[in-house]
Symmetry: C2
């Protein structure tokens, strides 16, 4: 249908692409398809009973507050609790440094909105998180890319890339989406040191940091940066840090947070007023009620155990079923691993075949902002149950086998 709107789209709308992943999800929602395509947490570990109790209690005791408008920066007790939680990981901040957002996706959008002019270069890993590219493409961002290996950013490339004058560095140090890679301590230290030397700030996106099920926690970028600058844990403001309740409590409540300098928070609050006014009061109070007595620590252990088992099964089945020349990462946490096929294979072609065989994944090229990655794929191991993971990787192995030259 022709409408008068057709010729009225803004220039930026030309740059928007729908998420390949969200499109794919529609195809793979058929119950007999085993999908490693989404980024969904395991619903088996959702704390449903805790949600039910919290809803009941909050609506009995604070119903009028929970259903009313609230402040744009977020529910104060929740922000206070996040400040206390952050301090345990060496990030000393006050609630004035914290903004509650409607998922980390909104934090990425607000960062784009207040910082990115058309043509600004953002330094990103290659591959990097698709959602950040989607958020920032709308503001006309260009990307300078640094390749990554099993230890994080390739450090030689990092320094030379800094000379292109990026507005900021976008970094996912823990179990990166899409690769599952974790930065080594050396990579973290070098990143902080180089950023400091060139005066370029960092956005640290850490949705999965709490979901480490192997190895020891490494200090966050924001923590190392604070040490470099202040010789103590006080937040100095070179790093904007993002985290979320999506992977620990529930993605369906869309609740995340930003830690940033107060002036940046002030600007983000103004932008958020025009964007969605506030994150729901209701979900914020419910989340606070669930976690205020330390529920998360125990619950995260449950999640870690489930995800470790699923990763192990996926790794075992990959080993058994993939032809020679196929490589994959060994994530120490998070939700994803990354498969690199022989260079002559094209994962977009393979996907069509795979869907016909009732197994799905995300072709890796969508995570490369400036092209490339045709022979890569992202696999999610958190969502499917163990027996489905076995069956799905077996199907995928048979499909890929057909493409071996």
């Amino acid at each position: 249908m022709q409408t008068p709107w057709d010729h009225r789209y803004a220039q930026r709308t030309q740059r928007m692409k729908g998420s390949a992943i969200r499109e794919l999800l529609k195809v793979t929602e058929m119950p007999d398809v085993i999908s490693f395509g989404g980024g969904m947490p395991a619903p088996d570990v959702f704390p449903i009973e805790e949600f039910r109790e919290a809803c009941d209690k909050v609506l009995r005791n604070q119903g009028k507050q929970a259903l009313q408008y609230g402040p744009t920066d977020g529910y104060l007790p929740l922000r206070e609790m996040i400040a206390a939680y952050s301090a345990r990981f060496g990030i000393e901040v006050t609630p004035e440094n914290i903004l509650i957002t409607s998922g980390s996706q909104q934090a990425l959008d607000l960062i784009g909105k207040i910082f990115i002019n058309r043509g600004d270069r953002i330094l990103v890993e290659c591959p990097t998180y698709l959602g950040a590219l989607q958020a920032w493409n709308a503001y006309g961002a260009e990307y300078v890319t640094v390749q990554s290996n099993e230890n994080g950013m390739v450090l030689d490339q990092l320094e030379s890339s800094m000379r292109s004058g990026p507005k900021f560095i976008y970094s996912l140090p823990n179990f990166q989406n899409p690769t599952g890679v974790t930065y080594s301590l050396e990579c973290r230290q070098k990143l902080v040191e180089v950023a400091d030397r060139y005066g370029v700030p960092i956005v640290e996106d850490d949705p999965y940091g709490q979901l480490r099920f192997e190895g020891e926690n490494l200090p966050s970028i924001v923590n190392l940066d604070n040490k470099l600058r202040a010789q103590n844990g006080t937040y100095t403001g070179n790093v904007i840090y993002l985290s979320t309740f999506s992977k620990t409590l529930s993605p369906g409540i869309r609740l995340a947070w930003v830690i940033a300098p107060t002036e940046v928070i002030h600007k983000m609050v103004m932008a958020k007023q025009g964007t969605d006014l506030q994150t729901p009061t209701f979900t914020q109070i419910i989340a606070y009620e669930i976690i205020k007595n330390g529920f998360l620590d125990k619950h995260i252990q449950t999640i870690q155990n489930v995800y470790r088992e699923r990763r192990d099964i996926m790794l075992e089945e990959l080993q058994k079923n993939m032809p020679a020349g196929v490589q994959w990462t060994h994530p120490q946490g998070g939700l994803f691993l990354w498969v690199t096929l022989p260079e002559y294979m094209d994962s977009n072609v393979i996907l069509k075949d795979a869907i016909a065989e009732k197994v799905a994944f995300v072709p890796g090229d969508c995570f490369f902002p400036n092209g490339g990655g045709q022979n890569t794929m992202r696999l999610n191991f958190s969502n499917a149950k163990p027996e489905k993971i076995r069956e799905g990787i077996q199907r995928l192995g048979r499909v890929i086998q057909k493409y071996v030259k």
Copy 2:
């Protein structure tokens, strides 16, 4: 604290201003201040018990779905129900024409994001809704203004303003925020006719349409436009229509919807993916559970009765307490009325005095995109209880009396 972010803000960030209303709310949250400043619904009529039952039921029966990611366009049964609801008001659409948004504020942001290039002119009433200006300022909008009177837009001005080539017309036909004015049938018809003649589409923002407590419902702009074009009720796409559950169920769940041509919905979905991925699954399913059996019809009557009483009391007290030369509107619904002081008075000056006397309002100038309105103020009558309204208007009358020359 100086940080490396300070010199990195985008140009558009210079155009952002915090909402005067949200700033004011902080001042007036002290319990002894009677505030007519916010736009808050009466918490006394929130359906708290219905929320409690719905949460309990949904978490028992659909917990995994309610806490998981869901589609960007929204929960399908909710979209189907909105389509059926819209049909009762003569808007025949399918769920493909409907997008669930995180409050109507997000709908305004997404419209700005996909349609507004820097320098585009938007035709707005003067005064108009502040939240739309906040959303669109970020995208570099300019405004062509049409004055309004007690019947809506001043029709002579409408036609001449169309010659400036606005990208679209922004219209609030029912109990407008801030004035409380409702367009006459003639105004509605003329708006549709002129927009059609000049080929300019319309955004119809209707958050309060269901809250009419006096007079008869008039056809919506989208409805009249469809009749003009198609000689039947089928949605033809010249009008993007916005409405919300904020004023009927709860503002604290941030749940609203857009009706638009499928191609516009498709573009808005792409923009929403990069903005916040999706509106919370949890709140959508809860809202659906509450209203699926017709709860809203009955509940809206309750709200209408409460708001009618509060408006009547405010009108009565204004009559008793305001000095000669002060005028106000007589809203037939909604949450606000509009006071025009003698021209020599400045409502921003008066506000300081008023807050000292423990009563607050919103100075009207913030609703004028191109300046003006210094002698106006917006009063909210939905939030305060009757005895507070009486006391508050008496205080306000005493303050204004001091400024009479």
